[in-house]
Subunit: 482 residues, 2 copies
C-alpha cells in the first residue's frame, strides 16, 4: 500500500562526497558508527527503535532512471559517476542493537562496514529513521512509567509532523509500552491494537447529549467509553452517562469495558467527583479515561494527587516528544580498512571532551549482575576482543578514569548486544513483530535499576571502554596533539 523508495532521501552532500570518493579514492571499506550523546528529557536510558525500517530502506536502495536523470540535470555529476549510480546497490555489512533494547549514550547503536561511497550515502536516512523512532519509543516509555501500570493509548496523529511521523511514531509508541494507538494505518501495517470511541462532533450532531450517548451505546455496547465534557462534565455529561449505563444494565447488557472520558477541565478534581458519582450509582468498574495535553510530568502529578483515572490518552506531547523533539543520533567515521585488511582507527577530536569519538571497529558487551539480572554497565571494545567472565572485570569511566569498579569473576555475565543485520549486502536478520518487540522491551526495562527509570535526575548507567580501546584512543589523541 505504501511503496516508497527512499534512496533519494539523503542530503546532497552525501552525493557530492560520493562523487569525490569516486574520483579520488579507492573506495576503501570503512566503519561508521551511529551513536547519541544524551538521553532525551534528561532521562536515564533510551529505547532503540526503527531497525525494521532501516532494513527495508537498505534492501530497496537503488537509483531509478528518473533519479539519474534528475542528477544529470543538476549539472554537477560526471557521466561516469552517474553510470556507477545506475548500478548501485548496498554490498556492505550492518550490525545493530535490536529494537526495544534499552540503550545509553556514547555506544554504537548501529555500525556500517562498507565501501566508503556506500557507507556515506546511507548516513542520512539511517539517522532519520533511528532518530525518529528511538525518540518516540523513549518518550512513550517515560509516559508509560509515569502511569504506574495504567494503559496509555497513543492518539497524536493529527498533531504529528506529517503522515510518517504519525505512522512510525505510533509503531514506536507501542514498542515503548503504549497499549494501542488511534492510528488505523498503523494498526493495519504493524498489527497493533487500535482504539477509539467518538469526538465532540458526535455529541453535537444529535439533538442532545443523552441521545448521542444512547445511540453510541446501542452501537458499541461492549467497549463503551462516553465523552462527557461537550456541555458540562459534572452537571450533564456524567449524569447522562450514568443514565445510559443504568439502562444498559436494565436491558441485561454487561459491557466488557465501559466508562467515561474526560477531555478538559481539571482532571484531578473532575475524576474524583466523577468516580464518586459512578460509584454511588453502582458502577464501580466504570473506567475513567482522560486526555488533554497530557505528558509524563502531568500524569505523574495527577497520580500523586490521587486522580481517579486508570486509562490515559496521550497525543501531541508523545507523538512530537514535545520538550525534546529530536534524538541526537550522529554518524561518525570510526575506521578505514588498510591494504593489509586491518582497520585503522580514526578519531574526530573536538574542544569538548564529550564530543570526541571512539575510534575503531567496535562492539558492545552488556554486563549484567548475575544475582539480580540488572545491568551493571555497557562495555565498548574492539570487535575482536574477548572476555573471560571467570576473571575480575575492571570498569572505569573513560572521561574520569579514577572512577573504577571491580566486578569479581563469576559475579557477572556479559552479552554482546550488537547483532549482525546485513553481511556483505545480504540481510541476515529477521525483524520480530511490533508486539514481540514491545514484549521484549518490557523485559528489557526489568534489567534497569529503579534509580535509572526515575523521570527526574535518574542514575546514569555506565558506558565504559575496554582497556585496549581506551589505550588506542589515548594514543590517537596524543598523535593528534603533536
Amino acid at each position: 500500500m505504501r511503496t516508497q523508495n527512499l534512496t533519494l532521501l539523503t542530503d546532497l552532500y552525501e552525493l557530492t562526497m560520493m562523487q569525490g570518493y569516486y574520483e579520488t579514492q579507492e573506495n576503501e571499506t570503512v566503519v561508521f558508527d551511529v551513536f547519541f550523546r544524551e538521553n532525551p528529557d534528561k532521562g536515564g536510558y533510551s529505547v532503540m527503535a526503527g531497525l525494521e525500517q532501516v532494513i527495508e530502506y537498505i534492501k530497496n536502495l537503488n537509483f531509478s532512471y528518473d533519479d539519474v536523470d534528475y542528477f544529470r540535470k543538476l549539472g554537477i555529476f560526471s557521466e561516469d559517476f552517474l553510470q556507477y549510480l545506475s548500478g548501485f546497490h548496498f554490498s556492505g555489512s550492518i550490525y545493530a542493537i535490536p529494537e526495544g533494547t534499552v540503550i545509553f549514550p556514547k555506544e554504537p547503536l548501529l555500525k556500517v562496514i562498507a565501501p566508503i561511497m556506500e557507507a556515506q550515502l546511507v548516513e542520512t536516512a539511517i539517522l532519520n529513521i533511528i532518530n525518529h523512532q528511538s525518540l518516540i519509543a523513549t518518550k512513550a516509555s517515560r509516559v508509560v512509567y509515569a502511569a504506574q501500570g495504567d494503559g496509555i493509548m497513543e492518539f497524536g496523529l493529527r498533531r504529528a509532523q506529517g503522515p510518517d511521523a504519525g505512522l512510525y511514531g505510533a509503531r514506536a509508541a507501542v514498542i515503548g509500552g503504549c497499549v494501542g494507538t488511534s492510528n488505523v494505518l498503523a494498526g493495519q501495517m504493524f498489527d497493533v491494537p487500535i482504539m477509539g470511541t467518538h469526538a465532540h462532533s458526535w455529541i453535537m450532531s444529535f439533538k442532545d447529549e443523552y441521545t448521542a450517548f444512547k445511540e453510541y451505546a446501542k452501537l458499541y455496547p461492549h467497549a463503551c467509553t462516553l465523552l462527557v465534557d461537550t456541555y458540562d462534565t459534572l452537571k450533564s455529561g456524567v449524569p447522562n452517562a450514568i443514565r445510559v449505563f443504568r439502562e444498559m444494565r436494565e436491558e441485561g447488557i454487561h459491557p466488557r469495558s465501559y466508562g467515561i472520558r474526560l477531555d478538559s477541565g481539571d482532571l484531578a478534581y473532575l475524576s474524583k467527583k466523577a468516580r464518586k458519582m459512578l460509584d454511588d450509582a453502582g458502577f464501580p468498574d466504570a473506567v475513567i479515561a482522560a486526555s488533554n495535553d497530557l505528558d509524563e510530568m502531568l500524569i505523574h502529578d495527577l497520580k500523586m494527587q490521587g486522580a481517579k483515572i486508570t486509562s490515559w490518552g496521550v497525543g501531541t506531547n508523545l507523538i512530537t516528544s514535545k520538550g525534546c523533539p529530536s534524538f541526537g543520533g550522529v554518524y561518525k567515521l570510526a575506521a578505514i580498512r588498510k591494504p593489509d585488511g586491518e582497520f585503522a582507527p580514526k578519531i574526530k577530536i573536538s574542544e569538548n571532551t564529550e564530543k570526541i569519538t571512539n575510534p575503531g571497529n567496535k562492539t558492545i558487551f552488556r554486563v549484567y549482575d548475575k544475582e539480580t539480572g540488572k545491568i551493571r554497565a555497557d562495555l565498548i571494545c574492539f570487535a575482536d576482543e574477548t572476555f573471560d567472565t571467570d576473571q575480575d572485570l575492571l570498569l572505569f569511566d573513560p572521561n574520569a578514569t579514577w572512577k573504577k569498579t571491580r566486578l569479581p569473576g563469576g559475579s557477572y555475565r556479559m552479552q554482546e548486544i550488537l547483532k549482525p543485520v546485513f553481511v556483505n549486502g545480504e540481510c541476515v536478520y529477521e525483524s520480530p513483530s511490533v508486539m514481540e518487540i514491545a514484549a521484549y522491551c518490557r523485559r528489557e526495562k526489568e534489567t534497569l535499576w529503579d534509580e535509572t527509570k526515575r523521570l527526574f535526575y535518574p542514575h546514569r548507567v555506565y558506558v565504559d571502554l575496554s582497556q585496549k580501546l581506551y589505550d588506542t584512543k589515548e594514543m590517537l589523541l596524543n598523535e593528534m596533539s603533536k
Copy 2:
C-alpha cells in the same frame, strides 16, 4: 516514486463515528472548520502550508479490498457499513486559504462542506498535513526574518521526525523563505534548489585537511565551500582553505561562489577572526557560512553581535520546530444543513472563552489599508454576507467588544481569502509550484506591519467577527445557558 494511499491515515474513532452516523442519521451535510488558537513561538502570524498534499489525499480517498478486509477482522463493523466503505469517495466541497498566505488564530483556514460521514473521515489527515507544514513554514519564516536577508538553507533531514517530516518539512521550509534544502528527494519531487558540500568524514578520509580541501576544490571549483572545523578552525582550517583559494586563483579559477563553513565553536568570535584572515589574504568575497544548532533566536543574537556570517544552515531546530513542535490546528463542527437547505449554526462551548467556536458556514475577508497595502484586520462572516467598501467599516474584537475601530469608507479594500478547492467532489483548484508559492509568501509578508513580524512580543493582527456572526454567536450562547 512515492505512491501512498493515506485513506487509512485516520483515527479509529472517525470510523466508529462514521458507522454510527450510518446507522442513526441521514448523513446530513455539515460544515467543519480547521482553525488554530495561537501562533507558534508566540509569533504575530503563521504561514499556511500543506494544501497541495491535502488535495492529493482527498483525490485518492478510497478503501481497497485489503482495507475493508482489515476492518472486517476488527469485528466492530457491520457488513452493510463495509459495503458502503467499498464504494466510498469524497463528494463534498472544500474551501481553503492558499498556501503561503499569512494566517492568524481563530480564522477558518480550511472548510469542509460534506455529508457528515465524509467530513468526519477526513479530519485526521487534513489536520496532520496542515498542522505539520504550516508549523514548519511558520518556523522557517521566523528564521529567515532573523537572518535579515542572508540565505537560510534547510538541512535537518537526519533529525526530522521520520521521512515525511524531512520531505514535506523541506517543502514547507522553502515556502517559508529558505533558499534551498539539503534534501535530495525534496529537490526531485518539488523542484526546489538543493545544496550541500561535504562533511567531516570527507576531511577525515584524506591524509590531511589540505589534501581534502584541494581535492574538493578540484572537483567542485564553482561552488566551493570548505568545512574548516575538523581539526582546529583558526590554526588549521582557515589557513588551509586560504591556501587552496590562493592556488585556485593562481590557476586562473574564479569560482561563482566560494568560502568556508563553521560548524562548531563560538560562531561570532570565529567568524570575525576568519573574516579578517580571509580579507587580509585577499578574499573579501569569500562567503562565511555557519551551522550548529541554530535557530531564529541565536541568529538574531549573532547578528546583533556583528558575526560575519552571511549564509546559514539550519537543521534540527527548524525541521522539528524545536520549542514549539506542534501547530494546534483543530477541526470543529460549525453547522448542519437543515431539510430546507439552510445551515443551522452549531457552537461548541467551553469554560474557556477563547475555546468557544464560531458557528455557521463562514468565510473570511481580509481588510487592507488602501494607502499602505498592509493588513488592517481579518473579518470572519457568514459565507453569504457582502460588504460595500464605500461605507465605513466597524471592526471590533469579539472577546472585548469595547475595542472598536472604524475604517472610513474608501480607505480600505477587502478580499475574500478562502478559495474553492473542491466543489461537489471535483477539484477546481490547481496548486502553484513550490517556488511560486514561496514567491507569493514573500509578497504576503509585505502586507504585514513590521510590528507583527517582530520575533518577540509582536503586535497581534485583529481577527474580528461581522455583526451578524457576532449576534448569532451571542444568541446561541444564550440559548445554551438556558
